[in-house]
Amino acid sequence: MSEGTPLLELENLSITFATPGGPVYAVSDVSLSVERGKALGIVGESGSGKSVTMKAVMDLLPSTAAIGGRATFDGIDVLTMPSSRRKHFYGVDVAMVFQNPMTSLNPVKRIDAQMTEGMRYHRDLSKNDAKKRAIELLELVRLPDAAGRLRQYPHELSGGMRQRVVIAMALANDPALLIADEPTTALDVTVQRDILNLLDNLRTDLNMALILISHDLGVVRDRTDDVVVMYGGRVMESAQTEDLFADTRHPYARALQLSIPDISKPRGQRLDPIPGSPPDLSSPLTGCPFAPRCTFAQDDCHSTLPVATPVGDGSHTFSCLHPLGQEATV
């Protein structure tokens, strides 16, 4: 990770869910950090723990989840915050945008009610001031006819417009950190580009930290300063975005890049899928979670848990016993 004081820092975060079938080890030993004004990408497939990790930070996990490790925000321990601090932490210091704009808004409440409730609760704004601010925010996210939209219901807006509303809503109390969980996955490519551009601009203009969770390496590649690649609830590789793509060390990070069809290659290009299925997290791992699907795996991979190993100055780390060398870059 890059130097500087982190705004959000996770140290050895672990999350276990109690289920009728026994514990599920959703996240194990995850450490990452993001600075003010920077964008961090978290990449992984379903079950990698990328969303669960951030939901833990946002206190959105069900009561069946047990969280271990530390999460600090601006020096305060998020997981053990006193309730006086908690009361105005979520939705103020940290805000979150979710994957599906079609379901992120309450279908039976008008846009204005949904946009102003957070401001009114946290900052005690009057109804009118809150409405003025809501219009400003909708203009900030470039929603056409901002004032007119306030009286509308969510179903009267398109998916792209709704995601703008959700983003505007998240910005209501000037958060220092915005967590975006697959914010464009449910949207068309053309809308996706607009929304990602918008998030980019907002981050720079508002000097906000952005955590962009995505399964799409392409999305993260263009838009983030640092990347964390997760698999099976663990961090596989973590680096400045450029380094990760230029000098991939972890076989999973590389396999992920290779499995995506390349639009510049003509038809018939044989893809290199990752064999097998995602890992079963209901038993604690003795070795590398990726070992069963890894073409480079050796005997020790199944029995020894790899630790984060630095490359060069330490901003780039990978957790692999048999990493790829320089020659393996894409």
Binding site: Y90, F98, N106, V108, Y153, H155, A170
Partner: protein, 317 residues
């Protein structure tokens, strides 16, 4: 506009179907003449009463074929004339005017109690779904559903009116206060199964609403729990409850037959039970009409509330 037309059409169809069946059933299964004339209506009572019988048959049009009698009844009904009671010649309208208000108050009372208890209860259980309080509530609500209304009535009456004497044993209606006190136990008896039904339905809908993304969004906004429950989760969860609320109007009337009799409340439920035993067609049919109209009206109201609850519901769809 289409909504109004559709509602009226619905009303006409329901009224026709219900009254046709009721009119037919009463005519084929009962003997009104006996109720009009008493024992002399029977052939065995002797030929000397033949003339009286014939007169009565003519007066009450009992010899006309079924379609004509039904048609005449419908025609009269449309002009607001429900005829006279066979047994005491009092107009059915005055019977309705006399007895209906008590029953309406009783039913509204029961629904108000049911909603007032079930909604907070459901909110409470949904917010702690599958934990102890919720599981205990499930046992309680199933018990409430399982008790037959007549048994509950007896139990309530004995405990609260006789043993602890908290409520009057006889119906009193001098003042509004008396009326509400007298009707409290019967209303609770009627409301008990409703409370349990509404609580179950609303709890289930709330639990699934609480899984929705917009609830996570609201939580991520840092809004307090009670606010999310009341302002975000409640409204989109009311649909099943509302649908059943409309349908329950019918079963409430059934319940009032039992309850009014047991608490000796001079309502329409009490009256109709008597009328059925007497084969007093005009009274029974008038009640059937009133119940059908009330049922359709409440359900039209429910449709209207849908559109208010969810802006996506198309008023004219």
């Amino acid at each position: 506009m289409r909504f109004v037309v559709r509602s009226l059409l619905q009303l006409v169809l329901v009224l026709f179907a219900v009254t046709f069946v009721a009119f037919g059933a009463l005519n084929y299964l009962g003997d009104p003449l006996f109720n009009i004339l008493g024992p002399i209506a029977l052939e065995e009572s002797g030929p000397e009463y033949a003339e009286v019988r014939a007169e009565a048959r003519a007066q009450f049009h009992l010899d006309d074929p079924f379609p004509i009698r039904y048609g005449r009844w419908v025609g009269d009904m449309l002009t607001g004339d429900f005829g006279r009671s066979y047994s005491n010649q009092v107009t059915v309208r005055s019977i309705l005017a006399d007895k209906l208000p008590v029953t309406v108050v009783l039913m509204v009372y029961a629904q108000v109690i049911a909603i007032a208890v079930s909604v907070p209860w459901a909110l409470w259980t949904a917010s702690r779904a599958y934990r102890f309080g919720d599981k205990a509530s499930t046992v309680v609500s199933f018990t409430m559903l399982g008790i037959p209304v007549f048994a509950l009535t007896v139990l309530l009456f004995w405990l609260f009116a006789i043993r602890w004497q908290l409520f009057p044993t006889r119906y009193e209606d001098e003042t509004i206060g008396q009326r509400l006190t007298s009707l409290f136990l019967p209303a609770v008896a009627l409301a008990t199964p409703l409370i349990a039904t509404y609580q179950r339905l609303l709890r289930t809908d709330l639990i699934s609403t609480l899984q929705e993304d917009f609830i996570s969004v609201a939580r991520a906004k840092g809004l307090p729990k009670w606010y999310i429950l009341f302002r975000h989760a409640l409204r989109p969860s009311l649909f099943s409850l509302l649908t059943v609320f409309g349908i329950q109007v019918a079963s409430l009337i059934g319940g009032s037959l039992v309850v009014e009799r047991q608490f000796q409340i001079p309502g329409i439920g009490f009256e109709v039970v008597e009328a059925i035993f007497r084969d007093d067609f005009p009274v029974v049919l008038a009640v059937v009409v009133v119940v059908s109209v009330a049922f359709v009206a409440v359900n039209v109201l429910v449709d209207l509330i849908y559109t208010f609850l969810d802006p996506r519901v198309d008023f004219n769809g």
